[in-house]
């Protein structure tokens, strides 16, 4: 314990945030910025951009699950709801329903409505703990899926909405592969940075306190329910942003996007990546998207039927979770701890990172 004391105190005192960004992040940042010059439109749009979007949606679950100890299966429903709202109030091919309002009203309105919905769901869900939270949010996700499929007045039923496109802003076609890549990259980095920042702000610390010991938090003067509901509201905003981007990427929103399978995909992404740090959902999303995209080709290459691609995806996740219940982040921590250990004494060499 003693060896960690003085250097870590000093590190917390380092002046600028700029100095505290680890070098690996700079490298990754540069790679992500220049990668469009080297890869095809398909990789940019279908893999990278999609990984960022799924990462953002899973990030909202990481915030609730990792910091708040609340596993919500309704995050995809919130994302889908935001997507539906931009279709309903904005423009789509379904002109009978879509209102065609300008983007600067539609996007904030969609996000506000999503926050209201997630706050209401959170207010219900925080009355439960553990597996019951999962059940109640799963029920809400299922209800939303069936509602969108059966309601034709607002959600246009089975078909949903197509031709839901991002606005033409600053003369840029945001649906273009480069522009859309940078758009999703921007929101992914912003979401990541904000969640990481908040984890050490009073709200985030309190949320982690609620996760570790709700009874003690209440004894310290915190309103535990209010903190949990606020976390749902904030997670709803993140999921909503992801949902809008997802709708633009697919240029459509339909019940299939918000089905139970999709809700579970978000959970799988977050768990495989790791729930302890906001980078986890993005790692998980990248692996998920790669597996989802190439599992079929992989099977065909092996001379098997491509129909069984779900099996490959499932096996991949099984292997990861089997070796590390903490996801890939957990594997990385194990690796680092092993490398840090002195082979002679078995003692920690005393290099620690947050």
């Amino acid at each position: 314990m003693a060896e960690t004391s003085s250097p870590s105190v000093l590190r917390a005192e380092t002046n600028s945030w700029f100095d505290r960004v680890p070098p690996a992040y700079w490298v990754l940042g540069v790679v992500l910025l220049v990668i469009p010059a080297f890869v095809s439109d398909f990789v940019m749009g279908e893999i990278m951009a999609r990984a960022f979007i799924m990462g953002i949606i899973a990030l909202s679950l990481m915030l609730l699950g990792g910091y708040g100890g609340m596993v919500s299966l309704a995050q995809m429903a919130f994302a889908g709801f935001a997507g539906y709202m931009i279709a309903v109030f904005g423009t789509s091919a379904i002109t009978d329903i879509s209102q065609g309002w300008p983007w600067w009203i539609v996007i904030p309105l969609a996000l506000i409505l999503t926050i209201i919905l997630s706050t209401a769901v959170g207010w219900l869900a925080v009355r439960t703990e553990g597996i019951y939270t999962i059940m109640i949010t799963l029920a809400i996700a299922a209800a939303f899926f069936y509602f969108t499929r059966q309601n034709y007045d607002i959600f246009n039923g089975f078909q949903g909405f197509n031709s839901v496109l991002p606005p033409q802003l600053f003369g840029v076609d945001w649906r273009g592969s480069y522009a859309f890549y940078y758009l999703t990259l921007f929101w992914a980095i912003l979401g990541y940075a904000v969640v990481l920042y908040i984890s050490r702000a009073p709200f985030g610390l309190a949320l982690q306190g609620v996760r570790d010991n709700p009874r003690r938090m209440s004894a310290l003067g915190y309103n535990v329910t209010a903190h949990r509901v606020a976390a749902y509201a904030f997670a709803g905003l993140i999921a909503g942003i992801g949902g809008i981007l997802l709708t633009w990427q697919l240029s459509q929103i339909s019940p299939g996007t918000v089905g139970i399978g999709a809700a579970i995909d978000v959970l799988v992404i977050a768990v495989v990546g790791g729930l302890r740090h906001p980078i986890g959902p993005f790692i998980g999303a990248f692996i998920f998207v790669v597996l989802e995209t190439f599992a079929k080709d992989f099977l065909v290459t092996l001379g098997l039927s491509g129909d069984r691609f779900q099996l490959v995806i499932g096996l991949g996740f099984l292997i990861i979770v089997f070796f590390s219940p903490d996801g890939l982040l957990g594997l990385w921590d194990k690796f680092r701890a092993a490398r840090n250990r002195d082979p002679l004494t078995g003692q920690d060499r005393g290099e620690r990172e947050l």
Binding site: M1, A2, T4, S5, S8, V9, A12, E13, Y197, I198, R200, A201, P202, F203, L205, A206, Q208, G209, R211, D212, N213, R215, R216, M217, S218, A219, L220, G221, Y222, N223, A226, H227, A230
Partner: protein, 264 residues
Amino acid sequence: MSDVSVMTRGDPQTGSGYALELRDISKKFGALEALAGINMLVRPGERRAVLGSNGAGKTTLFNCITGDFMPTTGAIRFFGEDITVFPAQERIRRGLRRTYQISLLFTGLTVLDNVYLACRGVSRGRFSFVRPRRGDALMQTAEELVATVNLSDAINTPVSELSYGQQRQLEIAMALSGAPRFILFDEPAAGLSPTERVELIKILTGLPSHVGYIIIEHDMDVALRVSEQVTMMHNGRIFKEGKPAEIEDDAEVQALYLGGNADE
């Protein structure tokens, strides 16, 4: 609750002049009567020990005072204010603190974060999305509290890596946060080494004189050295009150504590 208005003694300005007043507190868990007719008056700044065998109702009494449970009957006043039906967080905001027998710490956070959360809990900005800056007053207070309980060396250590004794010290730092007026210590010395006990006695006797406390303690040496009043409990009732010296010499107390002819 309705017959609390009979309180007339003491200073009219603060209601009664007592830091803590318990009137006829009882608590039933189904058929089990954990507390029965507890009356206790504690002056501001008073240091009192509550002793008794296991199952005497000491921790239940603490839970009723802090709002972890509601008492079945009776009234609780804190500095003259009736807090009987207040939720726990309202009592904390009025300056009541406690430590727990089993450590209830935030194991995923560091020592400093634990104390910081305790300081933040009684101040504004609990929902703030802005990180505390360097030199933030609350952060400094938290660092000082960590130093008070001799944990400065482990300030950035995750609580899950602390030794048991260090966790007990951290409990005390958290109870001291945010200008407490009255603290309930639930067996702070349990599981501590002899050296750590000496440190604990130093910390307790070194508290500012306006801060009163009640301490539940099995170790008579510790309990009698840090208190000026002693309350003995048995089977959910108070059966003796007095100065430490009187209690120490009391034949009945000795019989109970040494497992003699107690009626169990």
